[in-house]
Amino acid sequence: MGDRVQIQPAYLGKAAIQVKAGSNRDAVKSLLEANKDAGIVALTGLDMGKKIGLMYHMCTNGVIVTIRTEVSKKNPKIPTISDLIPGAQFHERETTDLFGVIFEGHPNPARLVLPDDWPENLYPLRKDAKIDEALAKAETAPRQAEAVQPQSEGDLVNIIIGPQHPALLEPEKFSLKVDGEIVKHVEPRIGYVHRGIEKAAEQRTYLQDVYLVERICGICNSCHAACFVETVEKILGVEVPLRAQYLRTIILELNRLHSHMLLLGHAGLEIGYETLFQYMWRDREPVMDLTEILTGNRVISSAMTVGGVRRDLQETDIPKVKTQIATLKKKMDFYYKLFENEPSFKIRTQNVGVLSKEDALKLCVVGPVARGSGVAIDVRKDEPYEAYGEIPFNLITRDEGDSWARLMVRLDEVVEGINIIDYALDHMPSGPFRIKVPRVVVAGEAVNHVEAPRGELFYYVKSQGTAYPERVKVRTPTFANIPAFITIAEGGNIADVPPSFVSLDPCFSCTDR
């Protein structure tokens, strides 16, 4: 592509390519030619004054490559890449909402995260957006009612699930078009839980942000905090003490245990097997107790901080943790028997919501959803962080690609998680658990990803040399997995929607931020 491309190898700690606005498609195309399994991780917008920077973070062979481009703020138009990578559709819609970038040729550029009555031409993540002023003006205008779709079109019946629905614990709307029992079309409307955290992060200090990003999602809170502090540590160039790395690993794995068990119980509820829900949640309580022993809190752990962890592990707590997880491991045998042999469970999940390996790669799904379709990706193996490089564990994959396989992957990972905690406790190094770091972070930027319970969690942080970050971008695993729901629901039975949906482990507070 000649002089239009400029390669900056040391940039962001990873390879980055600078291209002109029209060439973003060519760059993505050539990346796909080099590796057809490459996918998009995130699309970060960045206000650069007169221009808006766009960063396509692509993943190829487990490594993140960034393609950078710029568009002018006055006329922010750029060709779409969603026809090359279908997984990019939602990323582009989000960037349109938050930055006002128009992706030419996008199949469905409807509003995704902002509310229906949000003023036109107000893009919250632009630095010059006068949000309070514009909102006050909009308040005086009459409120628009929530958009309601027509009840039916020909033979197709419209069924709206949400925003308040017994099967959804969170408010989100899904419009399904059904023909008899068969789902023909799914249209998700997310944004009911959009709290504008990326903007809020720019207005708080780095230390305050640790507690803010934890509250993106109450379930995988430790992963958000860990990913954020690791990104900041990358910019600072500090090395965390080994003991802190082990302690972080234990907290992250406890987080995974509780999240997976929560989901497995919830799956029982969705398929009408309430006993499984009650049993699984009963056995999950000891994990919450352990989190409380180690961090002081049951749910939001607040254990991570820039430079280490906030609390050391007491020697007296180690036997308590070890006995609890040994009991939990024994109990897992019961669940294996149940998941593998119970006919009522198998009939609702096996061959339901099948996602083929090809589709999984095309839609760029992550985590247990990808591993349930036989795609062997796991950030803990691909690019080990914290103590994962030193701890032996297995990468779990299943080839069936159905709801059952996705749930089984999680059950296997619970056992792996128990083994990881056990090993980490036995090999816990001595030394400090925290080092002092400056409050003002030097100018720079970094990308980082960790394996959250739901899959790859991605952060991009840009610092301009003050105590406040200039930009924090979060790409959550659930956001990447939403397109998979559309694919597996369409063509399936309406009664199969709950089990296939729950097997993706949806979490809308993550999705919307």
């Binding site: 509310p115 925003p163 614990l169 408010p171 009911y192 839980v193 509250r215 809170n221 949640w281 749910v299």
Partner: protein, 146 residues
Amino acid sequence: MSKLATWARLKSPWVLHFNSGACNGCDIEVIALLTPRYDVERFGIKLEPSPRHADVLLTTGSVTRQCAERLKRIYEQMPEPKFVVAIGACACSGGVFKGNYNVLDGVDKVIPVNAYIPGCPPKPEAIIDGVVKLLNSVKEAKPNGK
């Protein structure tokens, strides 16, 4: 007759849970209430999926702009007398998200609230305590200050 109704309401309050833009932290604690360790069914409390059958609305989250209209509608659909419990720091005052462009800083900006349970998230014991306190207050007081 009204005495009988109050007695029945106190012995078996049906609750509706609505997340108006929470981080899920409070929500998983609300669900944990139903499971064997906390088991609020021993107070006759039952989670009810429809607002039209519910006596108590348990709300979590800081109320996003997109959710506000829906929260109001759910409240309006509930039959009288109705009670609202705001669970968690966000539902009480906006919490960590206070001042963000898409949140309205608390449930009481949209609908009247009878009980506040602070915490981020409150422990299940705290939520039980709050709901039981609300039930005790129902014995004497009239709902929504009427």
